[in-house]
């Protein structure tokens, strides 16, 4: 799950990371009131979950509360990379002397978190990594020990921070580490962390990604989810415990297991078709899950045929077969279907489908070819 800038910064602030004074607004008038309260210049920042907000004109400086109202009105009417701007963050403007990058992410190859710091902050860190990788300091953290004091000091020294800023920097690094840990983040990033003209450190922008697998212990964070970034069908899938990603093709896929789902998509393409989606009904999927999966696949108007490929391990094919039949009762459709069941209780599953006169296939290649044919208007 991606968090907005204002959400991330609020979390960082709870861990002692200094952030600018500011508030969130959903209307131009609200933005004006906040600007009035803050006094002086403010920055109006669109809150959408895409990069490049600044370049798109979604971040503007207002010198007066009146200007804040106008700019907020303009920004709230914007759509950035397809996402509507529903909220703006109104932050007190800060005089910047220097911009730093500070972030933590999971290094899957090293199987541990990695701290990254760079004195070349403010721009996309991927760009720095590509063009001047020597400007990024990387520091792996032992997940059982956490961030040690000498390590955060090493980061400060490595970036040539003035000595009087070592302690405040270390407190920020420690705060960011705690925030990352306590929220089960997979990314916690401050970019830029600035040195202000008053000589203080401050997090001007923040970004967090939170591990969906850890949401069971962060139910309070569920309300932070921005549903705009997910297609309605993807939201519906998540609520039903399914993994669904919409694609642009014409053959809907229902598969158990992520690897097999990808392989099924690949073989559809190899057979001359295009997959309409990725859909993994997961392990141990019962009849209700299958029915939900069906409704989600068929909600895509591009779908011309559906390929159901189930290889039973944890999932039992007889349950899937019953799910298909119960879903067919609920969702009236004329879309042709090709079903392939193999593995645990497959014979029972095939018998259930045969009794209901459903089209079946033996091999994966045969199933894909039949589905491609059916999508072109032939028989399933």
């Amino acid at each position: 799950m991606k968090l907005h800038e204002y959400q991330s910064k609020q979390i960082f602030a709870r861990y002692g990371v200094p952030i600018p004074r500011g508030q969130i607004a959903s209307t131009p008038e609200e933005a004006g009131r906040i600007a009035q309260e803050l006094g002086g210049r403010v920055v109006i920042k669109s809150q959408v979950l895409v990069g490049g907000r600044g370049k798109a004109g979604g971040i503007r400086l207002a010198k007066t509360p009146e200007e804040a109202v106008d700019l907020a009105r303009a920004i709230l009417a914007m759509e950035i990379k397809g996402l509507p701007v529903r909220k703006v963050l109104v932050d007190q403007a800060v005089n910047i002397v220097k911009e730093i990058y500070l972030g933590i992410t999971n290094d899957r190859a090293a199987r541990r978190p990695v701290f990254m710091a760079s004195a070349a902050g403010g721009v996309e860190i991927e760009e720095v990594a590509r063009e001047t990788p020597e400007k990024i300091i990387k520091l792996h953290i032992d997940p059982l020990l956490g961030l040690r004091e000498y390590q955060s000091r090493d980061l400060a020294i490595g970036m040539d921070l003035p000595r009087e800023l070592w302690r405040p920097f270390q407190a920020i690094a420690q705060g960011l580490w705690q925030a990352y840990n306590d929220t089960d983040a997979t990314l916690a990033e401050i970019n830029p962390l600035v040195i202000t003209s008053e000589g203080n450190l401050m997090a001007l922008d923040g970004k967090m990604l939170v591990d969906d697998n850890a949401m069971f212990r962060h139910q309070e964070m569920d309300s932070l989810r921005d549903l705009d970034v997910e297609a309605p069908a993807e939201i519906q899938a998540r609520e039903n415990g399914l993994s669904y990603i919409k694609l642009d093709g014409e053959i809907g896929c229902m598969v158990n297991g992520a690897g097999l789902a990808m392989a099924t998509m690949d073989i559809i393409k190899l057979s001359g078709g295009e997959p309409a989606n990725f859909l993994d009904i997961g392990g141990g999927a019962g009849a209700d899950k299958v029915a939900a999966a069906f409704r989600i696949i068929l909600s895509d108007p591009n779908v011309r045929a559906v390929l159901i490929n189930i290889f039973g391990g944890i999932t039992r094919c007889d349950e899937v077969a019953r799910g298909i039949l119960s879903a067919m009762e609920q969702v009236q459709t004329s879309i042709p279907m090709v079903v392939r069941l193999v593995g645990t209780n497959a014979e029972e599953g095939r018998r259930i489908l045969a009794d209901a006169n459903m089209g079946t296939a033996e091999t994966l290649v045969e199933a894909a070819q039949k589905a491609v044919q059916a999508a072109r208007g032939g028989q399933a």
Binding site: L144, M262, D266, F311
Partner: protein, 288 residues
């Protein structure tokens, strides 16, 4: 005849009384009969599967009574890290975690802890191990594979079944099949298993099933070109997967343009690995 598990393996199941745990324990018992114990805290003293498998309150007590040397974990994701710590602390040398959806920070801590001990973890989010005709530790359906000399290692679950099934339908059998799981942080990687297959006198050739995301396949390619004499056939799932989207498995995501199927295929090909276009084709490419 195999790696990691054989007919002498003494299997313990954590989460034995749960719906999935019980079903698959039944399947394992039926397959080879070498399940010696189950663990469900609070249900110690009971028996499951018509008195075939005794239930214990803790892994420690189960190990003391039954000398179990391999644990298969079926507990829900939020309890799985604790189950792995418990098995490791009870001295189980081989832990297989079937559970899907374990939080990645939990897994980083589990891995860091287990690395300090003499423990091999397979998974999480994996189908486990199958040595056809000898032992089954996990959920790979027993009837889809026959004994043979092909070593199979895979990041996927059901895709692996597909390959075993295709091998069997052409009369080809497996020495051992190892599902290493689809999570970004897991216990055993391709290289660990390739090394074991290379050293196993009963494995003649190897099938590697990878998918998009991470760099494990590239590292495997490097290992194969340097250290493997046995032929390898591979399939990489996710040629049609869009970047930035997590394709079900937490680890199956093309991030920052890295981890694509094309890169992995290229790396493996340059290591002399033959690449199959689809899973069933793997069986055609194996020399019978």
């Amino acid at each position: 005849m195999s790696i990691l598990i054989n007919k002498d393996t003494r299997i313990l199941v954590q989460g034995v009384t749960g719906r999935e745990g019980l079903f698959h324990t039944g399947q394992m018992v039926q397959y080879a009969g070498n399940v010696v114990a189950g663990v469900t805290p609070g249900k110690g003293g009971e028996w499951v599967l018509d008195g075939k498998v005794p239930v214990f309150d803790s892994v420690r007590s189960a190990v003391d009574m039954t000398a179990a040397n391999c644990s298969v974990i079926f507990v829900p994701a939020r309890f799985a890290p604790d189950a792995m710590y418990e098995a490791a602390d009870a001295g189980i040398p081989l832990i297989i975690c079937i559970t899907e959806g374990v939080a990645v920070q939990d897994m980083m801590r589990v891995r860091a802890y287990l690395d300090q001990k003499d423990v091999r973890l397979v998974g999480p989010n994996c189908p486990g191990l199958l040595t056809p005709g000898e032992a089954k530790a996990g959920i790979i359906p027993g009837n889809i594979a026959i004994p043979g000399s092909v070593g199979v290692v895979s990041r996927s679950g059901t895709l692996t079944y597909e390959v075993l099934y295709a091998l069997k339908s052409r009369g080809l059998g497996a020495s051992t099949c190892v599902g290493i799981g689809g999570d970004p942080v897991n216990g055993t990687n391709f290289i660990d298993v390739l090394e074991m297959f290379e050293g196993d006198p009963h494995t003649d050739q190897v099938v590697l099933i990878g998918e998009i995301g991470g760099t494990d396949e590239e590292k495997a390619a490097d290992f194969i070109s340097r250290s493997m004499s046995k032929p390898v056939v591979a399939f990489i799932a996710g040629q049609t997967a869009p970047p930035g989207k997590r394709m079900g498995h937490a680890g199956a995501i093309i991030e920052g343009g890295a981890g694509t199927a094309e890169e992995k295929v290229a790396a493996l090909q340059s290591a002399g690995v033959r690449i199959a276009q689809h899973p069933e084709q793997i069986a055609d490419m194996i020399r019978g």
